[in-house]
Point group: C2
Chain length 1004, copies 2
């Protein structure tokens, strides 16, 4: 038996990290969910002092318990936590060395760094980094810590968290945590199996909820008092106690989705307090550890001497440019982002620098961003450059003599005043300095371009790894820059360029010299890197399809997954794996979710679309033996499926309806009762909503669907895989023999989840979706929980948008006020007029933003909203039609007239319209035209802009004639009043659809 | 820098114990006071399954915090815990090897195993063992675990608990925990100093007492429910939470001495529950680890073949017997016990076995008990043996023929009926079987004697180390038994004899062969063992005195300490150490307590009795260099004194009176308020008590003393060293400028602490002592807290005895009833008549027991108590005098007459005494004598037995004459009545002092 025992793994890691200069410490002695929460991480990463530490940490996550029935999930387990602050030169490399010390080599295994950004909402801590996968098994969380307790880290810290049990199972090739050999006689199960069962029983069944609530409040109070007194250590302990009690409440199912946000906020506030006190304290103490760091490791990327070639100014001298930005594994999205941004910006940047070039090729893998430019050289050795100076009026006095301003400007540019010229610019005259400039050396220009291009890249989320000033998607670790065979000196983000590239991780030697830009592609091929995204995609598709076909199945078409996988590898190696048929007992949604979301596998389907017990995993790199890697991936899936099946079977023990009472334990929103209370409101509200929306839904089925709509939130599988909410509700409803309409509505009421998502297909689902959102919005506003600034903890903006999208899709004429009043009658907190108005404003604002995002003109949106704000279902169509109408010159003319009428006719007080006094032909013509139009308009729906246009266009001429021929403000008061009255009425004709005053017209 | 860093020490211990087959585990992740509380110890030591484990454990003992100001005491520190179950062959030897792995050798250092029996009252766990001293520094607790959670351990477990910080400080030669190098750059202080200060602040100042009380109750409730559901693991966690909360309450000073008992009881009950559930659970699981033990180590003591010498039956063949029982370090008292018991029993045991011998010498050190017997051999090769059979009446029928009983008896002893004889025994005739018996081989006899002698030894507290059946003071590890040069086969407590002795610990080779009994003393001298207690004592005294003299000081006379030290070493090496003069700022009582009680040092005094900054420590064994050992011992003392000084200085920050309010936090007795409440009662009660006792104490000073009497219990130093209560009260009172009488009374009110202790010297102290005890007793009885069976949790028996001893010493005439009534008026719970009576009975019983222990005749005690029970102050003197008087024949005669009078004269109803009818001369003589005696007796105090004797002796003759000459029961009723009336009055004369009826007289 040569595999390390569990205790030996820890001892090896202790020894390894001690040798790297880490403090080897003991686990923290109070219950924590992760090693991050211990003061050795949470506090010590703050402030400027160096701190490198390693320690195993018992971790307790009550909700993760499975009564020891899941092969690799216990609520109590061990992490091995390493903090390196500041980070060393090559943290992932150092980490791989530590795996080698455990006997795991990436020569034989597919070790991957897969984007995984970590966040602890209760600690106010987060970082960017990766899960490390060993043949598909997540064995480590690797994070560049960015914030702790709400504070930016400076310097940032590298956090490595080993999953010791996972590693041990892999090394010992055992199928369950219980089988891990702790030493040569005692297993992990011998020690922890029975306690695990008992702790699960306590956490899930026994712990007294009322007691836990009291404990949380007591500890919170103690924590606040203690931190107020600046006692950081005991204060943090008390915060950790809050956190553990919260975790117990959560395991007991006593924390609602929205209540959770409140709890997390309370804990985050305390954590922030602790962090603030700690930082202040260390400063007071003078940061005593500032000089405790070990000598810094020598950087392995030595900058080369910048030797400018003599020929680089020769315009005839062209050579290929090759720039490779070497990075730690980029998130897949960022690979795409980098490529598209570079493609767009590179031509301009190079051209601006006065460079000539041919084709530009941008390629990228997770580890390298490569810019290849053919035939780069200086465009001209010299060129003329014109610089704008002061206005001519300031440069010369009345006598035409140059002023001091002109003299200064000329001197600055090395010219005499005589040499200045005067040119027009934007309608004014300026003096200009025209001078001949010699081009700078091409290598200098290239160096500057490289820096501009790289620094100009923008990512969804950037991180820093040395100082907060230098950010990128992930740390930049090397820079290869060649112009032909010449080194291009450049520096990006603190990294100096060289002529070295790096092999894929784990290969030896790590570094390879690149003689020239031309040699680079061949080297990439040699070392097993496919630079082209298209080529990687092609290989994945071809090989995966071949594997699928051979296995009697086919892939589904999942564009997002494919694009992600393409950018997770440098050299794709699709491998076929299989899983036990028994797993198919679980609902396919769950299996597919696990395969795709968690493992990035491609599931296989049979011809009729049923799921097969097979998958394709795409490994990274080339290796001798694939069976080991397949075996590893299969084991991972087996364990994950076991987890899902465990819950699924447990959930099926009782019909879905029986989960409804458990909703009483899930708080909906603060002061707004439980999800069970909400369910009761939905049952009462849904039929009324269906009614006002004119939806043809069977009330009995709708009420049943409302009753069951949230029940799956209390099921184990959904608690575990929240993505499955709705889908599992449908599955469980079907299993329980509910009506298909009810089952569908449960799934559909979560639609749409975002703009562009599918809408509910059934009327029952539609009614339920609107009802749910309406209740949430009205309840939240009644309780004063509306979003503020960028904070929207309860997702109300998303709820509002979904509600509006359905109304728009259905072109519903329903009144918002009416809907809100229906819901307000049921929520437990009265909706005051002020809150009612706030909610209306909020909904209109969501609609406004969405319409503008849809490309509608802002003024058109405002014009329509001004009239139809209370009928959001009509607004989109109205605005679209109005915009179209406004493109016609006739309508523009009509509107110009109507707007002129509007400017003259008073807004307040309807004036008389006495046709007897309107005797002028222009009066009569307009009156007649108005009356004809008014008769037609009266029959139109407010959103019938086309009808409105058709009905009112005949007014265009009479209006123009009217304004030309008559004086509205006639001396005769009766006449004046009736003319204004007529204009009022004309002005008001379109105001059933939009506000005339806000309709935009082209400038004269 | 070659000394191990802190982290290296842990890694070395991990590696060492892993190599011994231990599981190396991680610390438990909830706050515990010691590694014992973790389930890996507390639970796993239960039941039959083997379990060997090692783990470091963060330990938190809130009350031990010193704000990081004490060089070696933090409230948070690390233990390294090892459990070996079953224990290996030589646990202390294995432990010493582990120290060697850390670089500590007992070749250079004085490593000692000093008795220290460990108990956790909250866990219901205890064991016997040692503190291990390294040059006087306690570095390890070494325990043979006997019970956990109230269960006997079978097999028992060896528990080794290393004090990691102590060891690190020693290895690194640093003077404070904060200076320990954790690794080569970071110190222990860098990590833990600031948190320590903060935790102390929280524990001592901030923690909310009310919150803690609630937490305790909540956790207790959860624990009970969880254990009721047999969920051992989470249940134990909750018990540990109770325990930590209790420790916090304690640190906040919120637990009174007696309240503590209640809390501990609650926790012990829960612990017991957890242990019970665990044992049942393991049994249900079938004790799955039963076969997990590593192969047992081969015992190093191989039994020799028993080869009986041919000449051992020759009575002329005599040889010296040498028996050495090798043990792990005995407690000092048990060395003495073993010697005295063996001295007493050996002659009889050897003689009973038919052995002849000359001188017997019994000697012992902590490691060996040695019996040397000169010239041992069989007394006779053959001898006659007589066995008693059935009574003669049963053995022979009326015809004198032998019955079947006689035949059977004869057959049993291999005789014919004819050979039986008849002999008298205790007044009856029995048949006897006389037979000639051949002696058994001398080696057999010796083997049996050795077993009988060793197994017959009884110790105050015995332990088991293999199976519960085999017990001894400490484990027996070898047995050397020689008769001349022949091996004596014997087995004691599972250990077979050999011819090997062992060197003192740490010496190599461990074992030495002993060729013959005669060679043994020389070997002992060679290896550095002084077997003779007297010789060790002489050496200690001579050398210590010489050292003291050279240092200009002298030792005090502390018999108990000397006797203990004599038996802590095999080879005493007194060494002179010194400490910093600054320490003398602390009160000498504190310094002396630390030196004597904690370190077993002899303090040095100057000629005028003031303490010198010097001490004598007695090391064990011979070594090259003593400076290392002296240095180590001095460092230990420095740290201990720093601890005492820390508190002392803190206490002096405010006058003693200012500690009185803090007494409100210390509960006195359940339902009886705080010590502050008690203080208020003492202030009110003391003057009244002084008054009824007739003590001439200034009331103002007495009240002041009462007020301050308990204040020192709230001071830091007394909380730390409770032995100093009273002494520190006096010191602090003096420092605060209180009247000397007040200061003395505070110290004296704790006197007497036991029978034979000094009594208060001042009247104020006397009054206060009586008052305090009286209040305690009355209050406790009012609350129903009196002792039951062997349980006296509040020390009421001791309180009662002290009270009585003072009354006796003062010969006080005070009435118990009166005293009790005075106190009862003040206690918060009414003292019912029944409780009053119970207290009186209790006090009388204490007095009775004490008097009998003083050697008074039981009947005399009863005679006096019957009359003077309510005046305990008089009883002792009365009884002593009565006993003396009863030794005179005259008084005996008088008493015989008086008792006769008592038997005749009715007890109820006083009869008339009409001198006119008493006309017989015997009547007249008796009447005259009575009247003369009565006149003298009336003036006597009840305890004036001498006066009573003198006054009543003249009655002796008249009484005798009266009974001879007159018929008491005369026919004349008047005469009869008067005669009986006279006898009544005579009988009643002594009944002011004792009960006539119970006076014992010699048998006729």
């Amino acid at each position: 038996m040569t595999a390390l025992t569990f205790q030996e793994i820890i001892m090896r890691l202790d020894a390894f990290w001690a040798a790297q200069g880490c403090l080897v410490m003991q686990p923290y002695d109070t219950e924590v969910g992760a090693g991050t929460a211990a003061p050795s991480t949470f506090l010590r990463v703050l402030g400027p002092e160096p701190w490198s530490v390693a320690y195993p940490q018992s971790s307790r996550r009550p909700a993760d318990g499975r009564y020891a029935e899941n092969p690799n999930r216990f609520q109590h387990y061990f992490q091995y936590q390493v903090i390196l602050k500041p980070g060393p030169a090559d943290p992932p490399g150092l980490y791989l060395q530590s795996l080698a010390a455990l006997g795991v080599s990436d020569r034989d295994h597919d070790i991957r760094f897969v984007e995984d950004n970590w966040e602890s909402p209760s600690l106010g801590s987060w970082g960017l980094g990766w899960e490390v996968w060993l043949d598909g098994l997540e064995i480590t969380q690797f994070t560049y810590f960015q914030q702790s307790g709400g504070f930016d880290l400076n310097p940032p810290a590298v956090e490595i968290t080993y999953g010791l049990e996972r590693i041990a199972m892999y090394l010992q090739d055992v199928q369950a945590m219980t089988q891990i050999r702790w030493n040569d006689r005692i297993t992990y199960g011998d020690i922890y199996r029975q306690p695990e069962i008992e702790h699960c029983t306590y956490n899930f069944e026994l712990a007294d909820i009322q007691t836990l609530h009291i404990l949380f409040d007591l500890y919170e109070g103690e924590a606040r008092r203690t931190l107020d007194a600046d006692m950081v250590g005991p204060g943090l302990d008390l915060v950790l106690k809050c956190s553990h009690v919260f975790n117990l409440l959560d395991a007991r199912g006593a924390v609602g989705v929205t209540q959770r946000a409140a709890y997390l906020g309370r804990m985050r506030g305390l954590s922030r307090k602790a962090a603030t006190a700690y930082v202040a304290q260390r400063e007071r103490l003078g940061f005593p550890l500032l000089n405790s760091a070990p000598p810094a490791a020598v950087s392995t990327v030595a900058p080369l001497d910048a030797s400018v070639s003599d020929t680089s100014l020769d315009p005839a001298r062209r050579a290929d440019l090759l720039v490779e930005v070497g990075v730690e594994e980029l998130p897949a999205d960022d690979v795409t982002t980098a490529i598209s941004q570079l493609r767009e910006r590179a031509p301009a940047v190079l051209a601006d620098a006065g460079l000539a070039f041919d084709d530009i090729l941008v390629q990228a893998t997770p580890r390298r961003i490569v810019l290849s430019v053919a035939n780069v050289g200086v465009r001209d050795t010299v060129r003329d450059e014109t610089v704008k100076g002061p206005p001519a009026t300031a440069a010369f006095d009345k006598e035409g003599k140059p002023t001091r301003a002109a003299e200064g400007f000329a001197r600055t540019h090395g010219l005499s005043v005589d040499q200045l010229t005067v040119q027009e610019s934007a309608g004014r005259s300026y003096v200009m300095a025209c001078k001949r400039v010699e081009s700078r050396p091409v290598l200098d220009l290239l160096g500057e371009c490289i820096a501009r291009l790289v620094h100009g890249l923008r990512f969804g989320r950037s991180m820093y790894w040395e100082t907060p000033e230098v950010t990128f998607s992930r740390p930049i670790r090397w820079l290869l820059a060649l112009w032909g065979s010449e080194h291009v000196p450049a520096t990006v983000s603190g990294v100096s360029s060289g002529t070295i590239t790096r092999m894929p991780r784990g290969a030896e030697p790590r570094d390879i010299a690149v003689a020239s830009a031309a040699a680079y592609p061949g080297i990439m091929d040699d070392i097993g890197v496919v630079l082209s995204v298209d080529e990687r995609r092609r290989r994945i598709l071809d090989e995966s399809r071949a594997l699928a076909e051979a296995a009697g199945g086919r892939l589904d078409d999942d564009h997002d997954l494919l694009e992600e996988v393409v950018n997770l590898v440098e050299w794709p190696t699709p491998l076929l794996g299989s899983f036990d048929l028994a797993a198919l007992a679980a609902p396919p949604e769950a299996l597919v979710t696990v395969m795709k979301k968690h493992q990035r596998y491609f599931p296989l389907y049979s011809g009729d679309g049923t799921l097969l017990p097979k998958f394709v995993a795409v490994a990274n790199g080339r290796r001798e033996r694939h069976d080991l890697i397949v075996h590893g991936n299969e084991e991972v899936l087996r364990a994950r499926f076991a987890d899902a099946l465990f819950f699924y079977r447990q959930d099926l023990q009782k019909p879905l309806a029986d989960f409804v009472p458990a909703l009483a334990q899930l708080t909906f929103l603060e002061r707004l009762g439980s999800l069970q209370d909400k369910t009761a409101r939905l049952e009462a509200l849904a039929p009324a909503v269906a009614d006002v929306l004119g939806l043809d839904a069977d009330p009995a089925l709708l009420i049943r669907a409302a009753r069951l709509s949230k029940a799956d939130l209390a099921t184990g599988l959904v608690r575990e895989l929240t993505e499955l909410q709705g889908a599992m509700g449908r599955a469980y409803a079907t299993a329980a023999g509910e009506d298909p309409a009810v089952a569908s509505a449960i799934a559909e009421h979560y639609l749409p989840r975002f703009a562009g998502d599918a809408l509910p297909a059934t009327t029952t689902g539609t009614a339920l979706s609107v009802t749910d959102r309406l209740d949430t919005l009205v309840a939240a506003f009644a309780a004063g929980l509306e979003p503020t600034g960028s904070s929207d903890p309860y997702g109300l903006r998303r709820s509002a948008l979904g509600l509006l999208l359905i109304l728009v899709e259905h072109g519903s004429t329903v009144s918002l006020t009416q809907l809100i009043d229906l819901a307000a009658a049921l929520v437990p907190i009265p909706l005051t007029d002020e809150r009612h108005a706030a909610l209306t404003t909020f909904l209109v604002q969501r609609l406004r933003i969405w319409l503008v995002e849809q490309g509608r003109m802002k003024e058109v949106v405002e014009a329509v909203l001004a009239i139809q704000g209370d009928q959001p279902g009509l607004v989109a169509a109205t605005a679209a039609k109005l915009e179209t109408a406004l493109s016609s010159a006739d309508f523009q003319r009509l509107m110009a007239g109507v707007k002129r009428a509007d400017r003259i006719a008073p807004r307040d007080g309807a004036l008389p319209l006495d046709s007897a006094v309107l005797t002028d032909p222009a009066d009569r013509a307009l009156l007649d035209a108005y009356e004809a139009a008014a008769a037609r308009v009266a029959a139109l729906r407010p959103d019938d802009v086309d009808g409105l246009v058709a009905a009112t266009l005949p007014l265009a001429d009479p209006i123009d004639r009217f304004f030309t021929d008559v004086l509205v403000m006639a001396d005769d008061p009766a006449l004046r009043a009736s003319r204004l009255g007529l204009l009022q009425r004309i002005r008001d004709l379109p105001r059933r659809s939009f506000e005339v005053a806000q309709v935009p017209l082209p400038r004269a």
